[in-house]
């Protein structure tokens, strides 16, 4: 009795395999682009953005004639608050972007499970991690397409309404910010993917990241002050107060929401020089000047690094959970 294949031969064959994650990603991208949720998200984002930008550009047009020395006028489109829209566009994106990641991640694995396709998928000659990788890449690709379209849309309206063409520096700031925003969405998508591995049903797996999102965006500041209050109690003295504020700041920087807001404000506004706590002495007689992109990046390097780290950790957790997941469940 002989065996058909000897093991060393098999090792040879194992090496020349194709990247199965590409096939997964390709299918997922097609799925996302044709899905109802893509159309709905795109519609909501488009309408809300248009409203915000029209208001902002109107406001900018009113002040522009008096605004001397503002070089990055175009970027104001993204950062200025004008009635009746209560917040600037970047806050709006910061608020809604997590939803994009959650929408494209929450049924990554739970969807396969509920459709009964998981055993079939895993019995194909691809590594398990390629399933997660393919889905993650696909989701982020679609998100990148959406955010890029959004920025181009805003810019288009801006050029039309303001008659100002963005300068090369402004374009590069926007490009860097776009990458930063995609990383931010990546965190939420990884969180949603993790939840989709752990939860047995798609509805449960959507609730976990949405819960985290709501808590961090709506109640974040209470949460951070409460934690800071415990870590460095206030006794009324100025030193204790400063310590308390610093702790609040540090704690809040563990939240991707805060990191994104801080990073965005610096990247899109050359006048913002710091995101930290500033005392009156420090700003006294400070010369108003603008940072170049490299300097702005220098200011927000920690934010970018922490956000990348958080997203990577989340992805790693999703990966590990999926590798340990039993096919039978």
């Amino acid at each position: 009795m002989t065996t058909e294949t000897t093991e060393p031969e098999a090792v040879e064959l194992e090496r020349e395999r194709v990247g199965g994650w590409r096939a997964v990603a390709r299918k997922e991208i097609a799925d996302h682009l044709l899905s109802g949720r893509f159309v709905v998200l795109m519609g909501v984002l488009g309408i809300a953005t248009a409203a915000a930008v029209f208001a902002a550009s109107g406001g900018i047009r009113d002040v522009a004639p008096n605004a001397q020395g503002i070089t990055a006028l175009f970027l104001k489109l993204f950062t200025v608050t004008v009635d009746p829209v209560p917040f600037p566009l970047i806050v709006f994106v910061g608020f809604l972007a997590p939803l994009l990641g959650i929408m494209f991640g929450f049924d990554a694995v739970s969807g396969e499970r509920s459709q009964g396709t998981l055993p079939r998928l895993l019995s194909q000659p691809i590594h398990r991690d390629e399933v997660i990788l393919g889905k993650f890449v696909a989701g982020l690709t679609v998100v990148a397409i959406m955010l890029t379209a959004l920025v181009l849309f805003v810019s288009g309206i801006g050029v039309f309404r303001l008659g100002v063409v963005p300068s090369p520096t402004e374009i590069s700031r926007l490009a860097v910010w776009l990458v930063f925003a995609i990383i931010y969405v990546g965190f939420w998508q990884a969180l949603a993917t993790l939840s989709s591995v752990l939860a047995k049903r798609a509805s449960t797996s959507a609730m976990i990241p949405i819960g985290v999102w709501l808590v961090l965006t709506l109640f974040g500041s209470f949460l951070f002050s409460a934690v800071a209050g415990v870590l460095s109690p206030r006794d009324g003295s100025q030193a204790a107060e400063v310590a308390y504020l610093r702790t609040t700041q540090t704690v809040s920087q563990l939240s991707p929401v805060t990191l994104f807001q801080q990073g965005s404000s610096v990247l899109l506004d050359p006048e913002v020089r710091t995101v930290g706590l500033v005392t009156v002495e420090q700003v006294d007689r400070a010369i108003v000047s603008e940072l170049n992109l490299t300097q702005s990046l220098g200011v927000v390097w920690p934010q970018i690094a922490i956000l990348v780290a958080l997203a990577s950790v989340m992805y790693a957790l999703a990966y590990v959970a999926f590798m340990r997941d039993e096919v039978r469940a």
Binding site: T3, K27, G116, T117, R120, R328
Partner: protein
């Protein structure tokens, strides 16, 4: 002959429970092998271990000479698998689902192959319909096509006929046999449906509570069957109490109990005594309208193997 699937002492333990208990399998190339057992017997777990999707607690496996734990991709490239309750991406058409599988297998130029597979399982007309609109039976047939996309040398089918109509079952079984005989595909068929397994399989293992309690050709297993008592359901017109008396008065008749159909009786007979018993009833003036051997259905045979097993362990 070449052994295609071989396991030695294969064991899977969840907590305290041995779902699969020291399983020794030897399946030859080109053979149709039936894994017959009730739900929860450990069939699916065994299959998942063969595919490298579930880690065995103990024991060794070789599929096509390869250990699925060390070379999962190589095994999966050559083994087509139809899972129990197979699912497809609902928004994609049947054809698109198969294309996706082909891409995952790194195939190029697969359109002709997919067309012929859809033709083979009788889904050519529904190929461009969304899989979400398929009936369970259609999904199962698409599942067979899906398992064949990679042109496997081993085909593992988990309950392939559960949702298919009787006509479809006959076609499916014919297809399985043809794949084995003409293309030399080794087929492992897990099912709880005895008569289907019997008609199509070269060898059968009866699998109960993670253990193989009997193994052999369907003929050999039937021989075991003859050595013991058989249960027969009699439907006799007229007064049930009287027909019961008549039955009990005959030789070779053991215990008599009420059957599922009102007025029918189930009697335990010595093997081979059925013609004599029917003759005796008719001679006694009983109006026999139906005789049905219950032992042919799986439940009774399982029960028998359970009994044998319990006697052994007692």
């Amino acid at each position: 002959m070449t052994t295609t699937i071989r396991s030695k002492g294969l064991t899977k333990t969840y907590g305290e429970l041995n779902v699969v208990d020291r399983l020794d399998l030897e399946i030859e190339a080109g053979e149709v092998y039936g894994l017959l057992g009730p739900n929860g017997a450990g069939k699916t777990t065994t299959i998942l271990m063969l595919l490298g999707l579930v880690e065995p607690t103990k024991g060794t496996i070789k599929v096509l000479g390869l250990d699925p734990r060390r070379y999962p991709l190589e095994v999966k490239r050559r083994v087509g698998y139809l899972p129990d309750a197979v699912g497809f991406y609902d928004t994609m058409t049947g054809r698109q689902n198969l294309r996706f599988t082909a891409r995952l297998n790194g195939l190029d130029d697969f359109e002709g192959h997919i067309d012929s597979l859809l033709e083979l399982v009788g889904l050519a007309d529904a190929a461009d319909q969304a899989a979400g609109e398929y009936s369970r039976g259609m999904k199962q047939r698409l599942g067979v096509a899906d398992a064949l996309v990679k042109s496997p040398s081993v085909l593992i089918l988990d309950e392939p006929t559960t949702a298919i109509d009787p006509e479809g079952v006959i076609e499916m079984l014919a297809l399985i046999q043809r794949l084995a005989k003409e293309e030399g595909v080794t087929v492992l068929l897990a099912s709880h449906l005895l008569h289907q397994v019997q008609t199509v399989c070269d060898r059968v293992a009866i699998f109960v509570k993670g253990k193989v309690v009997a193994q052999g050709t369907p003929h050999e297993l039937a021989a075991v069957d003859k050595s013991t008592k058989v249960k027969v359901e009699f439907r006799i017109d007229g007064d049930p109490a009287r027909s019961r008396q008549q039955l009990e008065s005959l030789p070779n008749v053991g215990e008599v109990e009420a059957g599922k159909i009102p007025g029918s009786w189930v009697a335990e007979l010595e093997a081979g005594s059925l013609p004599a018993t029917v003759g005796g009833l008719v001679a006694g003036g009983a109006d026999v309208v139906g005789v049905h051997r219950l032992d042919e259905d799986l439940e009774t045979i399982y029960r028998r193997y359970f009994e044998i097993q319990e006697e052994v362990s007692a």
